[in-house]
Amino acid sequence: MALRDERVTLAHGGGGKAMRDLIEEVFTSVFAPPGMEDQARLQAEALAEPGARLAFTTDSYVVTPIEFPGGDIGKIAVCGTVNDLAVGGAAPLWLSAAFIIEEGTEIALLRRIVATMAREAEAAGVRIVTGDTKVVGRGACDGVFVTTAGVGVIPPGIEMAAGLVAPGDVAIVNGVLGDHGATILAARGDLALSSAIESDCAALGHLMVDVLVAAPGAKAARDLTRGGLASALNEIAEAAGCGIEIAEDALPLRAEVVGMCEILGLDPLYLANEGRLVVFVPEDQAEAALSAMRARPEGEGAVIVGRAVEGHKQVRMTTAFGGQRIVDMLVGEQLPRIC
């Protein structure tokens, strides 16, 4: 154990022995990347198949607090990028992970984040094959920022795109909505709210593979991150050029999430999720897709929430009260309100 420091200092970013010790002890010893060159050199049999395509995505992760009930920034960084691949129909294979670390960050915290990432990657069936660290001065970032890029392979014959959604297709989500958003709101502490809600953060690669086997005609999927279900549906409606109608009654919501939304005047349709997606499938494959989802723990709560329709190009919701309203894109960020 060459690394004795409790906290990251600028020396750990200086290119010398301190940096090497940090990288080796905290990162590479856990991620165990293949080879120690500056690049990962990889082969995928799946890619050799005629018609197979490479899928490539990247995302940066910032979250306050860094650790929260149900996960931490590392879990989001792995699951988020895996999910970005999965909703496009790709089987996720490899990730890169780059860390921007604020001077003063506890090394124990880094170790916990890295352990989470390794565990989640293994569970999701992906390898973290390359990475980078940078240390910045106090105040130049907020604790730790993580960027992951992901590579996966779309098997031949799979073609998923929002533009393919057509009237009649059924929209399915894989579980209760808004848990992550509500968890983060409570975990920040400045609203002094407490509850037993935990983030829904989960990798959905395996679930999507199962859905595509059960419902090979699936048209499109979206992960329901920032902006929640409402934003994802609006994106799909716009790309597909058709309307989407959902039923308020059908929306899976935990009582605590509803309670928090009532207290703060928020709409759960716009709350972020980190382990939820919506998938559009032809009506005759809906039951098969539902069963496939429900067979997995991350899809236990799967339900049909609505369908694509003709006649208009908006997202509309039939309220539990029997009225109808338009569910629009969000303007900016949802702010708690008193009025």
Partner: protein, 96 residues
């Protein structure tokens, strides 16, 4: 204006500052009960429902009044149903 929701007082957290824990659907928040405290000890509020607004229990919810309002709505529903049945009966008769 004035978002307020019903919450249940579940514990007194600070007697001197008149603070209590309120619960709304499993979400807890410390609120002031200054507006709803009476002469007696604050513990008398535990179990009661109050309208919560910006961290204050503003008004105790009167369960009897709530029941009365619901009853009136229920009666109206029954009357409406009876009317509809009568209308359906009339229509059936007219159709004969």
């Amino acid at each position: 204006m004035c978002l307020g929701i019903p919450g249940q007082i579940v514990a007194i957290t600070d007697e001197s500052r008149q603070m209590a824990m309120a619960e709304v659907s499993g979400v807890r928040r410390e609120v002031s009960v200054a507006c709803v405290a009476d002469e007696g000890p604050l513990s008398g509020l535990i179990g009661q429902w109050a309208l919560i607004h910006v961290g204050f229990a503003m008004s105790l919810i009167d369960e009897d009044e709530a029941a009365k309002t619901l009853e009136a709505l229920h009666d109206l529903g029954e009357a409406q149903e009876a009317l509809e049945q009568m209308a359906a009966g009339d229509a059936a008769l007219a159709g004969e």
